[in-house]
Amino acid sequence: MSTLEIKDLRVSVETEDGAKEILKGVTLTINSGETHAIMGPNGSGKSTLAYSIAGHPKYTITGGTVTLDGEDVLEMSVDERAKAGLFLAMQYPVEVPGVSVANFLRTAKTALTGEAPKLRTWVKDVNGAMDKMHLDPTFSQRSVNEGFSGGEKKRHEIAQLDILDPAFALLDEIDSGLDIDALKVVSEGINDFRAREGKSVLLITHYTRILRYIKPDHVHVFVAGRIAESGGPDLAEELEANGYERFTSAAV
């Protein structure tokens, strides 16, 4: 049983005009086995939430706490957070020229588990994960994210989710830029992950479209750096019908 607890989290970024507060007190608890969807308009700070939890150096924590089973996540380095069980699938995965997907995955898995994966099962696991994401086996020999199409990048993120098998998946706009077929493939991958014992997901999205394939336990509407309203799956349906207007006008 593991719990990610975010309490009154405040985050700012440096801009040309000085520090700008993006997150203005976010409180959220995700229990083991739960899927939470965070939905919000552009610029509401929902991606900042994911990157702050993962430890991106661009963001300065100015207040609040993030704990994983009581351990202070904010004190951890980025790789320590991953070792503690966090995984961030990025909206724009970064190119790493000259580093093959195979080398990257093996290095990551070794770092996470503290030992090199057994060769025989490893190759099978990687090929299986690639296959599930409809990625060609030669994909492993390509440089990480270099020259990948938008859809390939997202499917590669979910293949990593499968292989690295974290406890908590933070998925930042995993659905953006995907056509309907790719969206189905990605959603299936996420659902496979959720089917594993005790896995938690924080699904950040702008659109309700992905929620046709992934049924969240909780839905939160994120506006102007904080959670404006929380509810069940029906809240997503309301957003699908009416958009964010009710929340954005209230925030102003």
């Binding site: 790789d79 790493v96 990257f104």
Partner: protein, 393 residues
Amino acid sequence: MTAAVQEALELGKVESHLHPEGSFDVEAHEVPKGREEIWRFTPLKRLKGIHDSAPFADGATKVEVEAATGVTVETVAADDAVRGTSGLVPTDRVSARAWAASTGATVVRIPTDTVIEGATVIRHHGTGSQTAGAGHAVIVAEKFAKATVVLVFEGSAIVADNIEIVVEDGADLTVVSVQDWADDAVHLSTQHAKVGRDANLKHVSVSFGGDVVRHDFTAEYAGPGGSVEALGLYFADAGQHIEHRLFVDHTAPKTKSNVVYKGALQGEKAHAVWIGNVLIRKEAEGIETYEENRNLILTDGAWADSVPNLEIETGEIEGAGHASAIGRFDDEQLFYLQSRGISETEAKRLVVHGFFNDLIRQIGVPELEEKLTSTVEAELAKNINTLITKDNA
């Protein structure tokens, strides 16, 4: 030959700083003071006087030859007619002095129509002599020959040399020059290639060691359809000066050049200089050229100068481009790798290896690949502690 034909074959004179007038006469080249365009980046004080009048003598290096079957390697007298067949005319004082002081030349010859398996390796071991050595080598790939020649420089020495490369029509030659010198070595090398009709030259310069290493690689074409690929890999440590000056002179139509140099720098006063000059002459219609230099600065205190120059005298070309970059570790790359559980140190190692990997693969000499990868690793190991402490500071 009639005058008209002669005239048509003569290349027009180009008024360009890219194309200085050469001369075999040492005194035609003034002693550089440091302000000259071609010397302004080079630390003259550390050249042990070879740019001025320091004497040359034999014995600066011991040479060991491992010739592949079918390749002849011999030493000829300084007045042998093979010298100068590449069209090399010294354009600076060091090159002119080395030319005048050479007591002989090493000639590597790959016979017509032969495809050579394996690399011919010529090792130069610096003997630690405080007197400079002047070297001369001529590498000739005869018509339709195919071979790889590797020059390795190790140990301590002060060396000025001229390396001539002649790639005859239809030949396919790879020349790799590996500067793996000890920390106190000084090496100024002028390497000039003449590339024949439909011939291919891959020229690779790899610099890791030495106090001052300056390499001038120039190429010209003897006929249409020739292609030059110039690759470079360097790793400058604290106090080291590594300079590469390239000049590709597109003297014939339908020729190609592709220049890619990549370097990493680490430590106080590590300095890398890259000057990439390309001249596309009026005659050079339908050519294609691209040059690229990327520098990865690993620590504070290191700096790089990178200057691409492209001079175009005809618009009737297939393509011409260049790129130059000097950068530090990309925070986004490191964050991405670390977010997968990879430690910061390991992430940096991956990024540096990745930075060089593509280039090492392109060199295409299997004997070298592993050695280069492990040398990159050894260079990183020198500074990996600094990398970490810098970040925590």
